[in-house]
Subunit: 313 residues, 4 copies
């Protein structure tokens, strides 16, 4: 850590300040509108939560309002699949950054159906295939895993979003069928996509998300319950993947500017892991041209800069 | 840092151990042979050096034998260009990982002559153009900069390698002319390539390299001389770029496995930055299929694992 | 025509000669084996038929044995869709050669879901979508159209092949879903693929095929029945498309060497149109590395060279 | 031929009509302006010439004004290289259409430096390399060849255009160096580019061009002089290549609509070969979005449609 994080008291007031600044700032883009259920979200929502390793929770704004976690669910999926499968997982999905956004499908073609990493859609679909193939009811297993991680039994998928995603998921279907043609999908494609869209449609608040991912900042042990979620090596690996590939085609810029493992979703959420300190989650629906939530990214950036948090010093 | 680095005494014996293991290990690939001057290098050379922030130097094997630094020179070039130019540099070269190795030229075409980052060849050629355009004698300025960083006035370019590179540099010429056709090269292409091949052909030892890059582990201040080489933000940025893009198409795997900012060169060298601790440089000429020196990568990996060094914890 | 075609008597004996040569020649490749139903075909079958504009039929070898027409069906599909739809068809599929075989999916991505021409799979799937959207029962309409063209009511789809294709059609499903994500598929993808695989699985003999396509050599009028199948401009257009794009990534070479509009299928058939003269169909299952039937291509080539048939003189 | 070509008298009045229509039509684009020497051309020039096999010449408009032949020179280069080299030429350049315009450099990368055909820039540069390697003075040989073909000793390169091309030829330099890195260029790149830009900068009139290419419509024999320029097979091959690849990424559309072997240049010229009849050359500088001269293409299209000329009937 570049400096000692400031006191909790300062932390809360800093969060209030960041939310106030965000509310004044330009939205920086449009709310995701590829499905009606997402387009209806209030563009003015702004929330942030920090959960420290000792369990202290700081919040500001709409930090307790659930939203569609979308691609942030890829972290849960990966952690669960790493738990269920040995290192042969990495023969089916690589651990390299993906370069241009445009070429997800070009890259799959070139690299024979092996996605570059588990945080691009193709990679998350392979992970979803691992889960559907290894659980009799992968959707139930998934939601229970998430509920346990954030100690909130009320977590559930939003069925409107889930159904909408399935209706508008032609591009993901193309990726899945292309990988199946290369032999990299075991279950049936509709079943895999059903799981994938289910996990994307889970709704959680900033507090839920920050609490659920504490184990990544704590070498695999969940701070609240002291339960081991994964071994220290797996936590390290997930953080490394988040650092190189968690922010779409803005991952390099985020490392360059902020320097924290992070993952965003088109629902407007973003989480960032601060090893040995805690997890931050910010939320603001409008997305910038890279598909990242502009004001939420800015809140995380300011929080990290002002507290001197960065893994690259 | 995951744990407190062990004592210096242990460090030296660990380095001896790593060199002994490397000498017994399979070379893991072939020595670069695209130019005769590189192909003549003794494949059995193995060296490692660690320079800590307090100036302590640990070495083992051929740690004082100069070798062709090749792409490691891209760090010096970038640091010098960042010193000479403001943030408009980042309009000419991006900060994103590059994805597939194959598509350096595809990406340049798609992204209108703007390279993905300064550690792929196209990006380093843009940096070389910045230097040739801003110095009356960029080659002299470059070598003096490096000499000062490692406090070794004997550092120089190997003219055999330099000439050889120029004769075999058709692919780099293609990249440079393509970027010039998009307006992203100001100087004449032959002049830019002359500088680029010059800096690649500089010869340095493991000790020279580890000492020269100490400022990256020390927020921009060179440990030996206490001179400020760059501001803390620039050091952070270079470390972030090294973390996402320093190891060719193995950058993600290196982050995943080791978790340190690092850069390799086809001369067989690799440096890794450990923030707040120091810099490691290992050398072993044979290259794996990604163009990284297999045994040198393994030495760094083992050093980091045994001492618990990783920025991702 | 470069020279006056020789007498019918000579034509028949030439065909016998070509079949004898083909039987002696190396198969030049393997029988398509991506589905069991095709892999079972006798690799030694060799047949050829020529149907002239006056109705004269010349045959040799297995010219009356039905085989899976596969991609030759794309001609029937296109002719039927051009009949049912105005020139807005060409906003949904282009008329340009496709370049590299590998990049069917790359090209679709780059060109926003608009396939290059109706003879690559993606283009034929768009044509199948036109048919499924415009007929209450497109499969019935299709087979009746073909039966009428070759005056053979016995023509039918091979249900083993049809079902097999559907099970192994993941790559075509990927193309279809990608195009649907760009809005270029109206019907449901499973319905479109069902039609597409149905038409591929129709079985016809060399005589059937040569007879059915006579209208392309006769400005749109079917020689046998004197019925107008399409206008002269449409026949011209189909011949032009066959000339630039009918032979996969060997289309240029076939124009260069032979110079006739032609279409091959992975069932081992190939048809070639000789304007103002007639249609040739040859069959031999083993495929070369471009997916074209090696010995059948050679028979057509020799026939054209010996009779001096070429549109390019 | 679809119909008997009309009488010469009618032909001349048809040409006058076409020129009058062209003068009234929208220019359909901009004059090439990537070099000043081309940008200065009068956008209003319109000319057309038809040279029949018996030597009859029909003209209208600016048919005797010389203009920069640019890519039309690729036909002369290819014919000369085919004369100097056996079929191993086709191991260095293929005969397949090239697909997307954008990917000239992508394709070269993917296909290891072997261009798709001799009418894209990369292919013409390989041809230029053949000529520079086989002639002590390839530029002199080239211009003499062209002078002889059109029986006009005054033909020469425009040195302003030639020098301008060299200054703005970075993209062609990129192609050439990339091919050299794959071993597909023998001579030095600057020498090859010098030849290439020289041949592009030759100035000829519509009458010169139509007369010079008569051998392509006459099985290799130059109509005026009865000299054999090449064998019938070579004339066939060039016509086939022109048919599939002569009109950039509009080649398929031109085959579809017109159906004649043709080649355009960014100087605004286009030639079309009518086997057994003659050669047409039209000129109008403004270029459409494919880089083809819009009004010149339209004049050729109308000429072919009204006389019923097409190789695909």
């Amino acid at each position: 850590m570049e400096g000692t994080p400031q006191q909790p008291k300062n932390c809360s007031s800093l969060l209030e300040e960041l939310v106030a600044e965000a509310r004044k700032a330009s939205p920086g883009g449009q709310v995701a509108d590829y499905i009606p259920a997402l387009a209806q979200v209030d563009a003015d929502c702004v929330g942030i939560a920090v959960v420290e390793l000792d369990g202290t929770v700081h919040t500001a704004g709409d930090a307790n309002v659930p939203f569609s976690i979308q691609s942030i669910s890829k972290i849960f999926g990966l952690a669960l699949a790493m738990d269920r499968m040995d290192d042969t997982l990495w023969e089916r999905v690589r651990m390299e950054p993906s370069g241009q956004a445009f070429n997800s499908i070009v890259q799959l073609e070139w690299e024979h159906g092996i996605p570059r990493n588990p945080f691009i859609n193709a990679g998350a679909i392979v992970v979803a295939d691992v889960l559907t193939s290894r659980y009799s009811s992968s959707k139930t297993a998934f939601v229970q895993y998430v509920r346990q991680l954030c100690s909130n039994e009320a977590i559930h998928a939003d069925h409107d979003v889930w159904n909408s995603e399935k209706e508008h998921g032609n591009r993901n279907a193309a990726l899945a069928y292309l990988m199946k043609s290369f032999g990299n999908i075991d279950s049936s494609v509709p079943e895999v996509l059903d799981h994938y869209f289910f996990q994307c449609s889970i709704a959680m608040s900033c507090v839920d998300l920050a609490r659920s991912l504490g184990f990544l900042a704590n070498k695999g042990i969940q701070p609240g319950t002291q339960q081991r979620v994964c071994d220290a090596r797996s936590a390290h690996r997930i953080n490394a993947l988040l650092s190189t590939s968690g922010m779409y085609d803005q991952s390099g810029e985020f490392a360059f500017t902020v320097g924290l493992p992070a993952k965003s979703g088109v629902g407007g959420g973003i989480i960032a892991v601060v090893p040995d300190y805690g997890v931050i989650c910010a939320w603001s629906p409008p997305l910038n041209r890279f598909g990242n939530p502009a004001r939420a990214v800015e809140m995380i950036t300011q929080f990290a800069l002002r507290l001197g948090l960065s893994v690259y010093h």
